[in-house]
Amino acid sequence: MKKKFRKHMVSLADVFDFMKEFMVLNGIDDSSAYAINLAVEEIFTNFVKYGTKSDSEISVDLLKEADKLTVQIVDLDAEEFDVTAFPKADTDLPLKDRKIGGLGIHLVRQMMDEVKYEYKDQNSKITLVKYLGR
């Protein structure tokens, strides 16, 4: 199930609606659905923040095969910039030294089983894999 969205923060509500429809149709459990919602939001918002300024689109493609759920999120007009390559967030720092930068990708890595970045023909593609029921 695939859909394109305007590369803007206001699209998030539509992205969540799209994912909810997929989760219901495929009977995805609440815990996995939450993790996938969060991972897609983090990648989508990173594409919006760090992508080119063009008012282009981001596609979100969801596929369920047995116990494996794969999500491909593609910025369709992007410079090469691997949003998954942020320095690892240090979650052990004391309060005064904590920063929010890099935390979104840290959460994606915690909650997904596979995260892969590819760049080709001005397309930045992140592939996420979640094994259901784990």
């Binding site: 923060m9 206001v10 998030l12 509500a13 969540f16 609440d30 815990s31 939450y34 919602n37 969060l38 939001e41 983090e42 918002t45 967030a89 979650t91 052990d92 309060l95 005064k96 904590r98 929010i100 935390l103 979104g104 840290h106 959460l107 915690q110 909650m111």
Partner: protein, 94 residues
């Protein structure tokens, strides 16, 4: 849909989904607080890193002023996000 309200006794109530598009709404309300505070998460279904950033900023600001913050009634998923981010160590969570 996200909502944030401050009750007469000063408790902050959150409801709905605190995602990146709603973080500024949360921040604008929480920035008005200059005292120790309890935040009730019982109506909050979802939070992402943008929401965590709002609470990290609030915690740091209140800490500098000598105030406390307590987070109560989180659902399991929201609590897991705090834990994955290592932020469960920074907050009093009940």
């Amino acid at each position: 849909m996200f909502d944030i309200k401050i009750s007469e006794d000063g408790t902050v109530f959150l409801a709905g989904r605190l995602d990146a598009s709603q973080a500024e709404k949360a921040r604008s309300v929480l920035n008005s607080l200059g005292r120790s505070v309890t935040v009730d998460f019982s109506g909050l279904d979802y939070i992402s890193s943008a929401g965590l950033g709002v609470f990290l900023g609030l915690r740091q600001r209140l800490d500098e002023a000598g105030h406390r913050i307590k987070l109560i009634n989180m659902n399991k998923h929201v609590r897991d996000v705090f834990r994955y981010a290592g932020m469960d160590q920074l907050f009093e969570i009940e």
